[in-house]
């Protein structure tokens, strides 16, 4: 069974996230040109968030049950919040400063992802029960 066959709605989403990852790689590259040799772990690896949380998870959803609209939105919000947190942390790292408010992005992002997973499991179990 190939995921490229048929009308897989998640294939399009997977490639969108892949494009977003590529954009983050490019963003990091351009930003580093003006960073006078200083880089940031957070900015360098920000691309992994949409790559793993977006592209990889989208492919997995071909195998697992589809999430509902709310779960999908919470997941997307979580990923975007984390990406922004990573980018801001990177900008502050390169500038050579610290900002405690960045931790808000990490906390909110993780809570949104956890909420999404929780809702997804809850609805999957409910759906299975209804089928039985």
């Amino acid at each position: 069974m190939s995921i490229f066959k048929g009308n897989n709605p998640y294939l399009k989403i997977a490639f969108r996230y892949l494009a977003f990852s590529a954009f983050l790689v490019l963003f990091n590259f351009i930003y580093s040109l003006f960073a006078h040799g200083v880089s940031s772990f957070y900015m360098t690896y920000a691309f992994l968030i949409p790559l793993i949380g977006g592209t990889l998870v989208s492919f997995l959803l071909y195998i697992f049950p589809s999430p509902d609209y709310t779960s999908k939105n919470l997941w997307r919000m979580g990923l975007i919040t984390l990406v922004i947190g990573f980018l801001l942390h990177g900008v502050f790292d390169i500038y050579g400063t610290e900002e405690a408010l960045v931790s808000v992005f990490f906390t909110v992002g993780i809570c949104l992802l956890a909420g999404s997973v929780f809702l997804y499991i809850l609805l999957s179990v409910k759906r299975k029960k209804n089928q039985n």
């Binding site: 006078h36 609209y69 400063t97 900002e99 609805l123």
Partner: protein, 329 residues
């Protein structure tokens, strides 16, 4: 819980709107909006030594507790200790300033394809080496001033940017004898003591109280230490990316008691590419420094002497910073 796309649109849209606004706020809060900090009374030191021949009045430094005195006649003149480093003899003299308790000679030299500005400073005692804070405030964010502004406000003859201590949340800070921050950082600090000597140390392994008890007058926390006890300890592989890159730099060097070198290297231009941390150590070694410490560099690297910025800050204009070292007229 399963909202339809139509029903859920407002909260999805609302979330992204809040996320956008909060992100904008964080950026403005960090880079634009001045906030925080506390006022620090500037020291009142009219002349720093008691070795004067005639004293007309005396006052007590409000923050330092050091009794100081003003004079109407000159103190004993200073003589330059030892020989002028060869590298300075071959450099270009920019200017000099001499009073009874301070000798400042500023040179321009070339090293590592860069323009290097050196202030060779001899003082009667360490109280002549003063720290200035932007708006006399410490610990705030975006509470910044140009080195030249701070210098003029303090009636300085010489000033250089220092460690931009308020840029960080942690790290020991002592300015003009006052402890402004007592939380240790992972960095190495350097201390100028009241007796005119200088020592560097790892903050995490050193009690601030011990440093205070030993008579710390200034303590800078930026680094790295580039020369310790006469030996270059600078390495481009010290784990700090900024150390390995050619950059504008500012540095503080110690020759012997009450004899210091302040250095600024221009960078990021075709004429002057800047130096990495090892090259900076080489420059400080060539000046005879037995202790040397890297200050905040990049666009912050600024040296000011007798009314003008003498180096070429890499951003064209002076970058506003949180603090400086200065010597009063």
């Amino acid at each position: 819980m399963n909202f339809s796309p139509k029903k859920s649109f407002p909260w999805v849209f609302g979330f992204y709107l809040i996320l956008f606004m909060f992100t904008t706020f964080v950026l403005l809060f960090q880079f634009v909006i001045p906030h925080g900090g506390f006022y620090v009374e500037p020291p009142i030191i009219t002349t720093s030594t008691i070795t004067t021949t005639l004293t007309t009045s005396s006052t007590t430094g409000t923050q330092t507790g050091i009794t100081t005195s003003s004079t109407t006649t000159t103190t004993n003149g200073l003589t330059y200790p030892g020989a002028i480093p060869l590298v300075l003899e071959t450099g270009t003299l920019i200017g000099s300033y001499e009073t009874s308790d301070k000798l400042i000679t500023v040179y321009h030299i070339r090293a590592s394809n860069s323009d290097v500005y050196v202030a060779d400073v001899v003082v009667k005692d360490a109280y002549n080496i003063l720290a200035g804070l932007a708006f006399n405030t410490f610990g705030g964010t975006n509470v910044v001033q140009a080195v030249s502004t701070m210098a003029e406000e303090h009636n300085a003859i010489f000033a250089i940017n220092s460690d931009y201590a308020s840029h960080y949340s942690y790290g020991y800070v002592i300015r003009n004898g006052m402890v402004l921050r007592s939380s240790a950082s992972y960095r190495d600090a350097i201390t100028l003591f009241e007796n005119g000597t200088v020592v560097s140390f790892a903050e995490e392994e050193t009690s601030l109280q011990d440093v205070v008890d030993d008579g710390a007058w200034q303590l800078w926390s930026f680094g790295p230490v580039i020369i310790k006890d006469g030996v270059s300890v600078a390495s481009v592989n010290d784990g700090l990316e900024r150390s390995a890159v050619d950059n504008p730099r500012s540095a503080f060097g110690y020759i012997g008691p009450n004899h210091f070198m302040f250095v600024t290297v221009d960078g990021r231009s075709d004429v002057s590419i800047g130096v990495d941390i090892e090259e900076l150590a080489d420059i400080m070694s060539s000046l005879g420094c037995t202790q040397a410490y890297n200050f905040d560099g990049g666009g912050s690297a600024t040296m000011w002497f007798d009314g003008e910025v003498i180096n070429h800050p890499s951003e064209g204009d002076e970058r506003k910073v949180g603090d400086c070292v200065y010597i009063q007229r």
